[in-house]
């Protein structure tokens, strides 16, 4: 029955093959066009190129900071939602999803409006005579982190919620009759059982954070360029497709390695909220 109807996924599969897999392969193949050896030589050079290394470090650092912040903010929310009766969760979920339906550009430019030298925050502080010169809030790693956290937070909450909702409230009750205070019941029972969700959220956010482009490009400064921005510059400003491709390969490799390592310790399916 299920096998017979598997042609239902064919249109989508064909589309993705033509529109996603093929161009991605072409792009990644570009440095190897002349010869495979020269491609690997170029890759080796790219890996030790100091300016690339600096951008990669910034990218990893930013992704890490953003991941930690979003997971810390999201965990209590996901916990709260997962303990609500299921009929009450829907409206909270709508609220959490809502930012995802707001244009990324709108959300990012809104931050510029808030944080720039003549922005709401600086002008308020100045008119209150708390500061005499505008504070530089924009175009640094702080503004990038703020912008990215607010975009990634819904993903963190949903990923953690989908694991937490499977933890029976009865278990915490049981721990309490057995002599654990509510706090200890949380540390000994709920937290360990929620770890798959926590780690899935960390991985998901970190991978998404690595590839971020719009937010760091608009809110970040030149010194904290992330790899997405660098790739864009290579293509648009310099027309250097090979370099762009090499950077993409490095990014993709990092993602695949992370997924592989994660799959050794936990189910990859945890990354997908719908799976139970």
């Amino acid at each position: 029955m299920l096998r017979k109807s598997s042609w239902l996924i064919a249109p989508c599969l064909a589309y993705m093959l033509v529109m996603y897999v093929t161009p991605a392969l072409i792009m990644l193949y570009s440095p190897f066009q002349i010869s495979v050896e020269s491609g690997f030589t170029a890759l080796g050079e790219a890996l030790v190129e100091p300016s690339y290394q600096r951008v990669m470090m910034t990218t990893f650092r930013t992704a890490l900071v953003v991941t930690v912040l979003a997971v810390l903010l999201g965990y209590p929310t996901a916990y709260y939602l997962s303990r609500l009766p299921s009929e009450k969760v829907g409206k909270y979920m709508l609220l959490i999803m809502f930012p995802l339906w707001t244009s990324l550009l709108v959300r990012t430019y809104a931050w510029i409006a808030l944080l720039q030298d003549s922005g709401v925050i600086n002008s308020t502080l100045m008119s209150a005579n708390l500061i005499s010169n505008p504070i530089r809030l924009l175009y640094n790693s702080g503004s990038v982190a703020i912008g990215m956290v607010q975009i990634l937070l819904p993903y963190a909450i949903i990923t953690m919620y989908s694991v937490m909702v499977g933890i029976k409230p009865r278990l915490s009750q049981t721990a309490q009759v057995l002599g654990a205070s509510p706090t200890r019941a949380f540390w000994h029972i709920f937290l360990p059982l929620s770890l798959p969700g926590l780690s899935a959220a960390c991985l998901l956010l970190f991978i998404m954070g690595l590839g971020f482009f719009v937010t760091p490009a608009l809110l970040g400064g030149r010194r904290d360029m992330m790899v997405g921005t660098l790739i864009q510059q290579q293509v648009v400003l310099l027309g250097d497709w090979d370099s762009a491709s090499l950077l993409s390969i490095m990014l993709l490799a990092a993602t695949i390695i992370l997924l592989f390592v994660y799959s050794r310790f936990a189910r990859l399916e945890n990354l997908v909220p719908a799976s139970k």
Binding site: Q173, A175, Q176, L178, G179, A180, H188, P192
Partner: protein, 375 residues
Amino acid sequence: MSYLSLIDVEKTYASSAPAVRHVSLEIERGEFVTFLGPSGSGKTTTLSMVAGFILPSSGRIEVGGQDITHVPPHQRNIGMVFQDYSLFPHMTVEENIAFPLRMRGMSKRDITSRAGEALEIVGLSGFGHRLPVQLSGGQQQRVAIARAIVYRPAILLMDEPLGALDRLLRDRLQLEIKQIQREMGITTLYVTHDQGEALTMSDRICVFNEGEVVQVGTPSSIYEKPSNVFVAGFVGESNFLECRVLTRKSGSPGNTYVLAFPDSAPVTVQSECILPVHSEAIAVVRPEHIRVEPTFIQPQPAEAAIQATIRDIIYRGESSSLQAVLRSGQTVTVRIPSRSVVLSPNQEVHLVWETRDTVLLPNDKRPEAVIEAAE
């Protein structure tokens, strides 16, 4: 003096009728008391108040004379077993059993030896390193029992612990639980909707219906002297024969009534129940107390006899269940040993029973409604 007391305990969930009303109970130390009743009758709610998960809307709970109504669950020193086992899935069997001991700050050595003992009591030595998912339902429940008794709590609560297990396993675990309980002398509250389970295991049964305790007593008194139509219908099978009180003679130990049944000579019955003359009443007769006479014989003075027609004979293994219809149209169930069935449908018979096997109750409820609730 009683050990565990529920004093006029009541619980109303937000904006609905009370789930538990005026429950007062006195439970002795070491006693095994069963809450028996249909689903939704308030058993779990009452147990949860003893455990401390739910705060009573009014009333209080005392253990050893101390009011524990507001004591949080982790300070009550109570053990609990649930129908769904509720084992911690990320801990091995041994870690599960060690959990309450760890929470009590016991030393590693003591924990190991105590957990080992508890595993032995439930017959699972050697399973300590398994995870709960690697065990069968029956084994998981044994682990849950071990975990609930390992710290020797003062009170053990069990909420339909055998509800998810199959018949044979249930019978075995009933005996095992009873044995453990008796050996440890642990005061136990046991919830079930299975009257057979309640009758076999309990020192006393507390029958719940619609949030109220409708009768408390030993298994034999509940079965033999149901104090109302609900209990008579829920605990064991019963026939409810409508009748009318002709005369009453007060006496001791009980009153002597002469009852009029349709299609029968007046029947004399002893009862402690007080019924006015001419009132409608219900005579409860258990199916196994009735015998079937194919031909009319003059009943003995201490016997009652009613004419009936056999409608159906249902084979049930060791016994057969016989459906007979009275002239009034009412159906009476009779239980007789299968080997002695020499009857056939549509046969005219007489149903005979000893009058002392009759329980007389006021006719305040339609018995059909009760039977439906019991099923």
